[in-house]
């Protein structure tokens, strides 16, 4: 019962970070700042969602598998963000400045 509430809290927190990441993606002015929103907010959001689901699953094996998925998404997200930012700079897209 208590774990259900904890899981719910974690899932809602995760959803909040996904929402904030999406708002950042829409509001931030250029490719670099948008990548910030994606890599950071979404990874934390996914971490919370995975933690909530792990608690709900009630199984250490499933929890381990979810953790593994999170690690892979972190790795993929960071690598892809780096590649996109690098290509953008090589193509001469200058970062937005205030």
């Amino acid at each position: 019962m208590l774990t259900d509430y904890l899981a719910l809290l974690l899932l809602i927190s995760g959803g909040f970070f996904f929402l904030a990441g999406t708002v950042g993606l829409l509001r931030f002015p250029d490719v670099y700042t948008r990548l910030h929103a994606l890599t950071k907010a979404d990874n934390v959001g996914l971490g919370f969602v995975m933690a909530g689901l792990a608690i709900q699953s009630g199984s250490w094996l499933v929890a381990g598998k979810l953790f593994l998925i999170w690690l892979l998404v972190l790795l993929a997200g960071a690598s892809v963000a780096h590649l996109i930012a690098r290509r953008a700079l090589q193509r001469g897209i200058t970062p937005w400045q205030r």
Binding site: F28, Y32, V44, H82
Partner: protein, 172 residues
Amino acid sequence: MARQVMINRLFMLLSRTAMFAVLWWLLTEGQPGSWGLGVPAVLLATLVSLLLVPRMTISIPALLRFIPFFLRHSLEGGMDVAGRALHSRLPITPVLVDYPLKLPEGLPRVVMINMVSLLPGTLSVEIDNDGLRVHVLDGNSDITVRLGILECRVAELFALAMTPTVSDHSLT
């Protein structure tokens, strides 16, 4: 001497086999019937990793210290960017910063550039011989100090000796 090398090789073989076995066990959620396929897959993965991934030292105590450091900072990074995205005035002052890397080439640098992108306010953009070019969301923050701390952590992880030098503030 030769015996020490043998022991090291054996340890590397066993630790990698154990790692892939745990991975298989997690992926199949411990189904006993899966090991008929799992054993050859684990052995093959170990063989391929021995051919492709050079021998490296990872400090387990440093890894254990790194995990809470990473979790705390990625949470901080997520909250930071979420707060900025939802703020009505969009408080960002992005700049590009060049940071001279002291880490050796190979896996330590790869870990470093990925960590930079996951931690608060920084995104690795370019890496070359001179160092790392980082896009920073908030140009007012003391970014070279923070990158220096991260670099020391990564060096610690790979049991590399490194002296922290964070004196030069090469903000551009």
